[in-house]
Amino acid sequence: MQDYLLILLGTVFVNNIVMTKMLGLCPFMGVSRKLETSLGMGAATTFVLTLASGLSYLIETHVLGEELRYLRTLSFIVVIAGIVGFTEMFIRKTSPVLFRVLGIYLPLITTNCAVLGIPLLNVQARHGFVESLFFGLGGALGFTLVLVLFAALRERLEAADVPLPFRGSAIALVSAGLMSLAFMGFAGLVK
C-alpha cells in the first residue's frame, strides 16, 4: 500500500507530468483560461488517463506480448483514441457548454503527449496492473492540480496591469516557468 501511495504522491508532486516532465503543455496552456473549464478538462483527462493506463497494461501484457512489441505505440494510441471518443460523447451529452468551451482540446486529449507518455512510462518502469493504474491516476491528478492552480492564477492575471508585450500567452508562459521553478523544490523528495 505504501508503495502505491508513494507512486501517487510522487507523480502528483515530485515528478509532476507538466511541471517536471514537461508533458501535456498544450492543454496546460490552452484550457487554463477559466477555472471551471480547467476543472472539467482535469476531470476528463483523469478519466482518460487512468483508464488508458489500465487498458494499455492489459494490452501490453495479454495481447501484445513479446513478439508484437512493435505494435505498442500504435495500439496504445488506438485505445486512447477510443476512450477519448467515449469521453467526448459523454461530455457532449452531460455538459454542452463544457463541451463547447473545451473545444478542440477535448479530442486533442488523444494527442496529449501526457496521455500517451504515461502508459509508455508504465511499460518502461515495468509497473504491474495496480501500479499502472496508480501511476496513471497520479499523473492525471498532478496534471489536474497544476492545471487548476494555473487557471485560477490566470484568472487573476487577466485583470492585472501586465505590460502590453507580455499580455496573454507571454505572461502565462512566464508564470508556468516560475511555477516549474517552484516545483523544482520537490526534487529528490521521492525517487
Partner: protein, 338 residues
C-alpha cells in the same frame, strides 16, 4: 477624487506600511551583522542599489511615474528580504541577477506593485539556488565558529573581486542543515548532531530578533496572526511527527524552528500581502501547507532550505485558495463561489 467617502484614515499609506516592515527588519539586520560579521551590510547595500536602479529603469520604460513607486518602500522590502535570504559574500553579479529576477521578472512583468503573483525576493532566491548551487551553498559561519570572519574591506574585496586574500574555507562552514544531512548519511543520529548545535546559538539570537520584528508588525496590525501561527504550527507539527517516527533521520522541531529562514519566512516573507492569501481561512491553509512543504523539502529534498520553494509553491496556489475560501458574506448561508 472619490465621490464618497470624503474623509480618509490619517497617517495611513502604502509607504507607512512598507516602512513599518523595514523598521521591523532592523533588529534582525543588526543581530545578523553582529553574529555573522559586517558582510551583511555589503549584500544589503548591493541588493538595495540594484533593486532601486532596476525598478527605476523599468518604471521609466513602462512610462510610469518614478516618485510614488520608488518612494513607497516596497522595492526596499524586496531588496532587504533578498539580501537576508541570500548568503553573504557572494560575487556582486549574483546579487544583481537575483535583484533582476525579483524586480523585473517577478514584479514588473506582472504589472508592478500589488500585481505580482509570486514573492519577488523568493523568485530571486530560487533562480539563484537552482542556477548557481555551488555559490549558494557557501554560507559564512557565525563569528567564533568560522576560522576567520571577514571585515568590511575583506568583504568588499570578496564580493567585487572574487576570492581575495581570504579563502572561502576560512570563513564558511557547512550550515547546520548540511551537517545534519551529512551526519545522517554517515550514520550518526540526528539527535546527536543537533545536540552539538554548531552555530545554533548565533541562529538563536537571529531568530529571536526576527521574531521581535514580527511581533512589532503584529502589534501595529501590519500583519495578522494567521500566517505566522499556521506556518510555525504546521512546521512544528510536521517536524514532530517525522521526529517521532524516526528520530535517527529527522531533526527535532526546535532545530527546524531555529535553522534556515523559518522565522524570517513566518513573519516577513509569507506575510507579503500581495502574494499571500487574503482570506482568514485561506491564510491558514496557505501558511499551513507552506510549513508542511518546508519540512518535507528539508527532510527529503535535494535543496538545503525549503522555505523559498514552499512560499513559491503556495504563491501559485493562492488564487485558487482565495477563490474557494471567500468568507461567508453577511446574510448568506455559507461562503461559496458561484
Amino acid at each position: 477624487m472619490p465621490t464618497s467617502p470624503h474623509i480618509v484614515l490619517a497617517d495611513n499609506s502604502v509607504r507607512a506600511v512598507m516602512f513599518k516592515v523595514l523598521a521591523a527588519l532592523v533588529p534582525g539586520v543588526v543581530v545578523h551583522a553582529w553574529m555573522f560579521g559586517p558582510a551583511i551590510w555589503v549584500s544589503l547595500l548591493l541588493t538595495t542599489l540594484f533593486c532601486l536602479v532596476i525598478e527605476a529603469l523599468v518604471l521609466a520604460m513602462r512610462d510610469l511615474p518614478l516618485k510614488p513607486f520608488l518612494s513607497d518602500g516596497s522595492v526596499l522590502v524586496t531588496a532587504w528580504l533578498l539580501a537576508l535570504s541570500l548568503p553573504t559574500l557572494l560575487p556582486w553579479w549574483l546579487y544583481a541577477l537575483g535583484s533582476l529576477f525579483a524586480v523585473l521578472v517577478a514584479k514588473h512583468l506582472y504589472g508592478g506593485l500589488g500585481q505580482n503573483v509570486f514573492n519577488p525576493a523568493m523568485v530571486g532566491y530560487a533562480v539563484l539556488i537552482v542556477s548557481f548551487p555551488a555559490h549558494m551553498n557557501l554560507w559564512p559561519a557565525p563569528v567564533g565558529v568560522a576560522g576567520h570572519t571577514p571585515n568590511l574591506m575583506e568583504a568588499l574585496d570578496l564580493v567585487f573581486a572574487g576570492q581575495g586574500a581570504v579563502s572561502p574555507d576560512a570563513y564558511t562552514a557547512a550550515t547546520p542543515m548540511d551537517q545534519l544531512r551529512a551526519q545522517v548519511r554517515t550514520g550518526l543520529s540526528a539527535e546527536a548532531v543537533a545536540a552539538a548545535s554548531f552555530g545554533l546559538h548565533a541562529k538563536e539570537a537571529l531568530v529571536l530578533s526576527y521574531a521581535l520584528g514580527g511581533l512589532l508588525l503584529l502589534a501595529h496590525r501590519v500583519i495578522t496572526w494567521h500566517v505566522p501561527v499556521a506556518f510555525l504550527g504546521a512546521l512544528v507539527a510536521t517536524a514532530t511527527l517525522l521526529h517521532l517516527i524516526d528520530p535517527g533521520r529527522h531533526a527535532d522541531p526546535l532545530f527546524h524552528l531555529l535553522t534556515g529562514s523559518t522565522v524570517l519566512g513566518a513573519f516577513f516573507i509569507l506575510t507579503d500581502p500581495v502574494s499571500a492569501s487574503t482570506t482568514p481561512l485561506g491564510k491558514l491553509i496557505y501558511a499551513g501547507l507552506a510549513g508542511v512543504i518546508t519540512v518535507l523539502i528539508r527532510s527529503f529534498g535535494a535543496y538545503p532550505d525549503g522555505v523559498a520553494f514552499a512560499v513559491l509553491l503556495m504563491n501559485a496556489a493562492v488564487p485558487f485558495i482565495d477563490a474557494y475560501t471567500q468568507p461567508r458574506v453577511f446574510g448568506h448561508s455559507r461562503g461559496r463561489r458561484t
